[in-house]
């Protein structure tokens, strides 16, 4: 797999699962928390990527 987006989403999924497992106790709360972390990481990376492109990429 060499897709930047695919690898980043895989990494974000792993990180969010571990954080949710450690920081929340019941399964439903873990799922919600993992989803929030995953979305934050992916959206944050996308936003940072676009900002860098607009600032330095042209």
């Amino acid at each position: 797999m060499t897709s930047h987006l695919g690898v980043m989403m895989l990494f974000a999924a792993c990180v969010s699962i571990v954080f949710a497992t450690i920081l929340r106790d019941d399964a439903a709360a873990q799922m919600r928390f993992a989803g929030r972390i995953f979305l934050s990481l992916v959206v944050g990376a996308y936003a940072a990527g676009w900002l860098m492109f607009l600032a330095f990429g042209r």
Partner: protein, 135 residues
């Protein structure tokens, strides 16, 4: 009433904080397993071991302790935070790192992050063992 009697008995057979710490370092999730948190243990074992394996699959490098290169030293420290998988990698000769591979840096990131996330798991298990955090 019976549960309040059973809890101290269960608590008394739980392993010490030091043993939990070492077990959690050696095998991801083992500390939580020893503290009776089977579901968390399985999730941590599967995800952290998978991250380490993905890192090796992506041609990442298992860094040596090289004091002259501080970043290499820190990367080695992070990778050694996940004990047995790192040892298996060392004994099998995996993780030589293919620097020209497109996924080389991804691999390093997965390897280092798996160790650092295991550090969080180690401290969480240790806190459970010392009673600083309730199960």
């Amino acid at each position: 009433m019976s549960s309040s009697v059973a809890k101290p008995a269960l608590a008394s057979v739980r392993p010490s904080a030091a043993l939990t710490f070492v077990a959690a370092w050696l095998v991801p999730g083992a500390g939580h397993f020893l503290q009776g948190q089977l579901r968390k243990a399985v999730i941590l074992f599967v995800v952290l071991t998978a991250m380490f394996a993905i890192g090796l699959g992506f041609a990442g490098r298992l860094f040596p302790f090289q004091v002259s290169e501080p970043l290499v030293f820190l990367a080695a420290l992070a990778e050694w935070a996940i004990g047995v998988p790192r040892m298996i990698g060392a004994f099998t000769g995996a993780g030589r790192g293919d620097v020209v591979a497109a996924t080389y840096e991804y691999g390093n990131t997965f390897l280092i992050a798996s160790g650092l996330l295991n550090v969080l798991a180690i401290f969480d298990a240790h806190d459970l063992a010392t009673g600083r955090k309730s199960a």
